[in-house]
């Protein structure tokens, strides 16, 4: 038990939380106790979507429906907990693919309802950030959140409460990796393939613009265009011979921007602690460069293991420990939201975080 690590006034449910995450193409469930992930099961749909060359929302939703109950059972079994041991259920409410989210939400609400457990709705981004708490980080810190859908610098003030210090002006970093992979003719998932190829290439081979957008925002669409022109200017044989070198150069350019902006952001905010979150945090080039830069600048770096960077329910359970729990039956009518803009419309204003611990569980049945 590590509830002693919970911050003052942030009473986490006293006991293990069952977490469910189905916001995109991975079906995941975890059992989390305080800052300890007791189990985390991810059933990846990569192979399924590879044949379509991208995530097909309807295909993902169908697969979640088939898998989610088994994944929950597996997470509980690996953690060695029964329904009676659980203190709450946590679930990703959004943002994400709406049809996919609704499968996880209906499932989580239903198991919570049947067991009369409180439900903790979690914002997917807060989940990514919270993954760092498994590593013992303490707020405040600055967190680079980079995935296929997001690229931003979050100043995490307390728990999972954050302020956006900078964000991308166009594409997300993960999108830049995936689009680059497509231009380079790599398979799916593109970002992972590009990373693998770049590992054996020369990052100094091709020259991509060093210039960065003014201010503190990120921008990747120019890099993508530069790659397009670079490939167009070379003949086929040259591209064939230097595919790894071009990939390495392109990846280095994305990474350079992410690292420089993150370090500058930390310095600007006067923070000594840096964290990363999101699928792009699994990129080996980024991990190496950020480690080096933080060492050079004397910044403490929290680099979650790959399993906590890509979408997983462990991070949702970790975030839940900082968020208000809705007692039964207050959550029965909860809806999912596809975007943060929709979040406000999804439900009347959220209940504030209770000052005290969530109310004790009621007797079961009924």
């Amino acid at each position: 038990m590590r509830t002693d690590l919970a911050e003052p006034g942030q009473a986490a449910p006293a006991g293990p939380i069952l977490a469910v995450e189905t916001s995109c193409d991975d079906t995941s469930s975890a059992v989390v106790h305080g800052r300890e992930v007791l189990s985390s099961v991810v059933s990846s749909q990569d192979e399924l979507h590879a044949q379509f060359g991208g995530v097909v929302p309807e295909v993902a939703s169908r697969r979640h429906t088939e898998l989610v109950n088994e994944v929950i059972a597996e997470a509980m079994s690996r953690a060695g907990v029964t329904w009676d041991d659980l203190a709450a259920v946590a679930v990703t409410q959004g943002p994400g693919l709406i049809g996919a989210l609704l499968v996880g939400l209906a499932t989580a609400k239903s198991v919570a309802c049947r067991r009369r457990l409180p439900l903790i709705p979690v914002n997917h981004l807060q989940g990514h950030i919270a993954a760092n708490y498994a590593l013992g980080i303490e707020a405040p810190f600055i967190c680079l959140v980079a995935s296929g859908g997001h690229t931003l610098l979050a100043v995490v003030e307390e728990g999972v409460r954050y302020r956006v210090a900078a964000k991308t002006l166009d594409d997300a970093a993960g999108e830049a990796f995936d689009k680059g992979a497509r231009l380079l003719g790599l398979g799916y998932p593109g970002g992972k393939e590009l990373d693998r190829l770049a590992a054996r290439g020369d990052p100094g081979f091709a020259r991509f613009p060093r210039s960065m957008p003014r201010g503190r925002g990120f921008s990747f669409s120019g890099l993508k265009t530069a790659l397009l022109y670079d490939l167009r200017d070379r003949d086929e044989a040259e591209v064939e011979a230097h595919r790894a070198d071009i990939a390495a150069s392109y990846q280095a350019a994305i990474v350079r921007q992410l690292v420089e902006k993150t370090v500058a952001g930390a310095q600007h905010e006067g923070l000594r602690s840096v964290a990363v979150a999101g699928g792009v945090a699994a990129n080996s080039g980024l991990r190496a460069a950020l480690t080096q830069a933080c060492e050079a600048e004397g910044l403490r770096l929290s680099l979650p293991p790959l399993s906590l960077c890509t979408d997983n329910a462990g991070m949702i359970g970790l975030a839940a420990g900082f968020l208000p729990a809705l007692p039964w039956p207050d959550y029965l009518d909860l809806d999912a939201f596809a975007s943060d803009a929709e979040a406000k419309a999804a439900r009347p204003p959220r209940t504030r975080r209770p000052e005290r611990a969530p109310r004790p569980r009621r007797p079961r049945g009924a």
Binding site: S23, C24, D25, H49, A50, Q51, F52, G53, G54, V55, V56, P57, E58, V59, S61, R62, T65, E66, V68, N69, W83, P95, I98, G99, L102, V103, A106, T107, K109, S110, V111, C113, R114, R115, H128, S147, G148, G149, H150, A172, G174, E175, K179, R182, G185, G187, Y188, P189, G190, G191, G278, G279, P329, L332, D333, L334, D335, S339, G365, A366
Partner: protein, 244 residues
């Protein structure tokens, strides 16, 4: 008792039924798709209205469709998870068209005979249809589920002789029905009460257990697999990773 759910169409409903299929309490919304917000409150309400608890529930049942994909999944995911967390209650499902057919068999319009053809709106100006006939107290299915374009519905129905039709598809395309089809006025949206009764009576296609209680989509996803291998253009959906 049976907790039954039906969410294959814009109607959303939950019912508590006795083991003989009779309805003890029921909630139905015809207001349009809001299944995520309505369904579990309905479940709570039917149990409370009947003064019953989960200890009294032996079966959780869902209509399996075909119908609108997202609503269908909400109902089935809800039933699966309720049964999973209950641990004791059996999970059951029945094709929505089968539940509708059983309701049609009891409609006054069916008294003069004819086959029973439930019609569920499949969107895109198509309906999901299947053909049944009365069989004692129940129904027997004589044709599998078909996806019939609305413009061909009249001819398709006329080919099947005198029929009694019902379901939201029959209401939506009422003007297109041939003279050989009589619409059952009382059988419009498929409801949870129909599902509960169909499961209790062992209507055609009733299945039990988590391996089988899954949506009947009636239609493949739109996306087509692309030619595999590097270099193929990105024809797929959004990039991998969490959506914005």
């Amino acid at each position: 008792m049976i907790v039954a759910l039906e969410t294959a169409t814009t109607a959303c409903s939950a019912a508590l039924c006795a083991t003989d299929g009779s309805v003890v309490a029921e909630r139905v919304s015809l207001a349009g798709p809001a299944h995520s917000r309505l369904l579990l409150p309905f479940v709570r309400e039917v149990l409370e209205e009947a003064g019953r608890g989960w200890d009294d529930v032996g079966t959780v049942a869902a209509g399996l469709g075909p119908g609108a994909f997202t609503g269908l999944r909400i109902g089935i995911a809800t039933a699966r998870a309720l049964a999973q967390a209950d641990g004791r209650a059996e999970l059951a499902g029945v094709p929505t068209l089968s539940a509708l057919a059983l309701a049609l068999a009891g409609a006054p319009e069916a008294a003069s005979g004819g086959r029973l053809v439930p019609l569920v709106d499949g969107r895109r100006r198509e309906v999901f249809a299947a053909v049944f006939e009365p069989d004692g107290d129940g129904v027997r299915q004589i044709e599998d589920v078909a996806v019939v374009p609305a413009d061909e519905l009249a001819g398709w129905l006329a080919d099947r002789g005198p029929v009694v039709v019902g379901g939201d598809g029959a209401a939506l395309y009422g003007e297109l029905l041939p003279p050989s089809a009589r619409a059952a006025a009382g059988v419009v949206a498929p409801t949870a009460a129909m599902v509960g009764r169909a499961v209790a009576c062992g209507a055609p296609g009733v299945v039990r257990g988590p391996d089988l209680v899954l949506p009947l989509y009636g239609r493949a996803p739109d996306a087509k697999p692309r030619a595999a291998g590097p270099g193929s253009p990105g024809a797929g959906g959004p990039t991998r990773g969490c959506a914005p």
